[in-house]
Symmetry: C2
Subunit: 295 residues, 2 copies
């Protein structure tokens, strides 16, 4: 029986290999600065939480990791594209990402913009080309979920809301995080379910949505807390950058104690949602793990 940390490590390595294949010269048409930037933006990156959600929910619902590999790659590509575009000078203008130069610092703005576009498109390529004809139902559902959660009804709407810098109360901030962060996690959870089952189920989909909403909001609250309490070394980026950038954080509306208590409550609720399911250990443990993370 693996611990959660062992599962996370295994899963990160599993999805890394899958991403290497999906972004290899065999798949992409030709080598170019764009394809290099695509790999730079996605490979060796991050905690792979979205891929983990896709793979673990697939396993919880009766599939195996291999069933979810393509969808997990799609999730990481969309996440990677969103970071590349968010870091651009006309957006957040961030020079560093995960302890190294952001994509446009490394490859220039033009190539970074293009690589982001190509990654977003390639995510749908991963889904569309998953499996055989028997997977078409699951693939169609996955395209529906990802396009809804990543675009003008989800993550892009969240980014627009963030840019408007007009968050007046905690409810508005929750809506922002729901769109900008939870929506993509929701897609990750749904894709895991579709990879295993291939059919819609409103009750399950609703539960997955609530799980993702809570985990996403708690994740952002912890992010806000880490930004004031951590060190640059631990975070891999400068601390206090939220305040410096005039970003609205949860600490505008709640004390640190209240914020952590809120994150703890959300994480516990998520943990309880799938407690009765077989093979749900990772899914039940993940929220508390993310709550107590140091970076």
């Amino acid at each position: 029986m693996k611990t959660l940390e062992q599962r996370l490590t295994w899963c990160a390595s599993f999805v890394e290999e899958a991403l290497e294949r999906q972004l290899s010269a065999n798949i992409l048409l030709m080598e170019s600065p764009m394809t290099q930037a695509m790999r730079y933006a996605v490979l060796r990156g991050g905690k792979r939480i979205r891929a983990f959600l896709t793979i673990e929910f697939c396993c919880m619902f009766g599939g195996i990791p291999e069933d979810a590999a393509d969808y997990a790659c799609a999730m990481e590509m969309v996440h990677g594209y969103s970071l590349v575009h968010d870091d651009l000078p006309c957006m957040d203008n961030d020079d560093m990402r995960r302890g190294r130069p952001s994509c446009h610092k490394k490859f220039g703005e033009t190539v970074a913009l293009l690589a982001g576009d190509a990654l977003l498109t390639q995510a749908f390529y991963c889904i569309g080309n998953h499996g055989t004809k028997e997977s078409y139902n699951a693939n169609s559902l996955a395209v529906q979920a990802l396009s809804r959660c990543a675009g003008a009804l989800g993550m892009c709407a969240g980014q627009q809301m963030d840019l408007a810098k007009d968050i007046q109360d905690y409810d508005a901030l929750k809506m922002l995080h729901r769109l900008k962060t939870s929506a993509l996690m929701e897609a990750a959870c749904l894709l895991g379910y579709y990879a295993a089952k291939g059919i819609p189920n409103p009750d399950t989909e609703k539960k997955l949505e609530i799980y993702a909403q809570n985990v996403g909001l708690a994740f952002q609250i912890v992010d806000d807390l880490l930004d004031v309490n951590s060190t640059a070394e631990e975070l891999g980026k400068p601390v206090g950058s939220d305040v410096k950038n005039g970003k609205c954080t949860v600490l505008k509306f709640l004390s640190q104690e209240e914020a952590f208590e809120e994150a703890r409550r959300l994480s516990q609720e998520s943990s309880a949602l799938f407690a009765g399911y077989e093979n749900s250990d990772s899914i039940c443990q993940l929220p508390m793990y993310l709550l107590n993370r140091k970076k």
Copy 2:
């Protein structure tokens, strides 16, 4: 019996209405500068050649325009996103598009970037949510075709090639146009076929690919000729901008006469491809119509 021009006019109005619905407040989550920019970039725009290809091929293969409406919207959204991102300062830095300010001149760079991202995502939403469960086969094929043709294996690779400004001969220029222009037209043709039939057919798909390749290349050759022979009033944008921007055009490798002859040959070949099919009038006439266009 409608003439080609009447079909084009009818089709443009048909897809305009479909796009209005797909980008209405009912579909999008909330009104924002981003959603305004999405509509600005796509509505009342262009010749709708891609939508026309989707709708006409759907009709030629036994469908009706309504079968192809969602896919046609997807094509115009991807085309619209590509123009918005191409016009950005870090790309071609174009202030005008279709006789009015380009998207970032009107809404700012940040919103334009985001609106492009959201349009690309929304295109897959249009496909994914097309029809009922019976459409899942067609939708999966459509996602495969569009993601292949629009991303790192198609249009984005073409944009990268264009930016590299390293076109040494006519073969390289043809490859550039094949990727940057024909690929999306190929998706448009394939989507029309899938909307009608919902199943793959390698022979037909190959013919559609050749049709699109020829039409796309001829289209770009005519574009290059118009850029030196037309007026700003006719074009809706400054003439001679290709030369001014140091863009490699066909006139670097061919004389005007040779270039027009090449475009004529490609157009005639395309026209002949589907000559034996029922209801193929529009498809057979379109290439020569595009060849002789004045803008």
